[in-house]
Symmetry: C2
Subunit: 199 residues, 2 copies
C-alpha cells in the first residue's frame, strides 16, 4: 500500500525541515490528520504562506519584519549609537530574550566560507556603512559565532570598519557559566586564560 | 522585540506537533523563511489543507483514503478471508512495509482507557461485524500493542468475536530478534518462556 497522495505530499514537505526524517515526517503528518482541528490546520497552512508573503528584510538592518523598517530600528527608546552585528535575525531574538542589550542590530546573513562559495564580496555591509555615517554610530559589536567561518568573517568586517570613525568590539569568549571545567575544549580554556580579568 | 505576527503564528502551529517545543518550532519556522523556495512553501501549505480536506475513512476498514473504499480493500490480489485488527492506519503502513501480510485490515482507532473516558462502547466494531458476516471472513488477527489499554481492548474484542463464526488470533509476544537478553523486561521474558515452541 502506498500513502494516499495528499499524505505523501505532506510527508515530503515535512522532510524538508531540518533534522526531520521519514519517521518524524510521518508522525507529524498523522498528528495533523488525527489531532488537529480543522481550524488549526487552516491556521497552520495560512501561516506558512504568510511568512513567505508578508515577511521582508528591514531596510536598515536586514532583520525580518512585516513593514519596511523593523520594530527595533523604529523603537525610539533604544540606544541608536551602538550596533550589534549578528549572523541571522534568529540571533536577535536570542539577544532580545536576555534583554540586556538595548542598541541596534545588523544582520549580515552570510559567513565567509570559500568551501560553500561565499567570499568576502558576498557579505553585504553597504547598509551598515551607510548607517554608521548617516546616524553617527559610535560602536559596532561583532557577535558572530566563533567557528572558522565566523572568525574569518568577524576579522574581515573588523578590517572593513577600520577606516570608519567607529569603535569595533567583539563579544567575549571564555568559560560559560555553570560548566564543568573538564568538558571544555582546549581552545576555549586557552582564550579564557588569555583574556583573564583582574578583580 | 516580539516576533512579527505571521512568524509567531507559524511557531505556534509547529508547537502543536508532537514533541515540538519552542526551540524546534523556531528552527522549523526559520527553515521555511530562509531555506524553502516559494513553491516548496506553497506545496507545504496546500498539503496541510489537502490532508484535512481530501482524506476520509474507508467505508469498510476505517483506513485513511482519498476515495470511499481504500486501496487495500479494493485490491483484488489480497486474501479476503483474513482481517488484521490494528489501532491506527499508521500501523497498516508498518505492516505493508514488511510486506509479509497479504490480508485485509481493520482500524479500531481507539483503545479502551477508562482514565481517558474511553469505554468498550466507544470501540466501533460494527463495520467489522458486518464484514465478517457479509464477506465470510475466516480469521481475525488482533495486532494491538501490548500495553494495559491494548490488552484490555484485545480481550474485549476477542470476547465480542466469540459469538461469530471466525477464528480469532493474536500476534505473538516474545523476545525481539537481535535484542540483548539483559535489556528485556521481566514480563516479556515470562511470556517468551510461556509461549515457547518445540523445534
Amino acid at each position: 500500500m502506498n500513502y494516499p497522495n495528499c499524505l505523501k505530499n505532506l510527508i515530503e514537505s515535512f522532510k524538508k525541515l531540518p533534522g526531520v526524517g521519514e519517521k518524524t515526517a510521518e508522525r507529524y503528518s498523522y498528528a495533523i490528520i488525527n489531532n488537529f482541528e480543522k481550524e488549526d490546520s487552516q491556521f497552520f497552512s495560512k501561516s506558512i504562506q504568510d511568512v513567505k508573503e508578508k515577511l521582508r528584510k528591514c531596510d536598515k538592518c536586514n532583520n525580518i519584519t512585516e513593514s519596511s523598517i523593523c520594530e527595533l530600528c523604529s523603537d525610539k527608546r533604544r540606544n541608536k549609537k551602538v550596533i550589534c552585528l549578528v549572523q541571522d535575525s534568529k540571533d536577535i531574538i536570542l539577544f532580545e530574550k536576555i534583554g540586556f542589550f538595548n542598541g541596534l542590530y545588523y544582520v549580515i546573513e552570510k559567513l565567509i566560507s570559500p568551501i560553500n562559495g561565499v567570499g568576502p564580496e558576498d557579505i553585504n555591509l553597504e547598509k551598515l556603512f551607510k548607517r554608521i555615517e548617516d546616524e553617527k554610530i559610535e560602536e559596532v559589536i561583532i557577535a558572530i559565532k566563533p567557528t572558522i567561518e565566523g572568525e574569518t568573517t568577524s576579522l574581515y568586517i573588523a578590517r572593513m570598519l577600520e577606516k570608519k570613525d567607529v569603535i569595533v568590539s567583539k563579544i567575549a569568549h571564555g568559560i560559560p557559566i555553570g560548566t564543568d571545567m573538564e568538558y571544555l575544549d582546549p581552545l576555549t580554556l586557552e582564550l579564557a586564560i588569555k583574556d583573564r580579568k583582574t578583580f
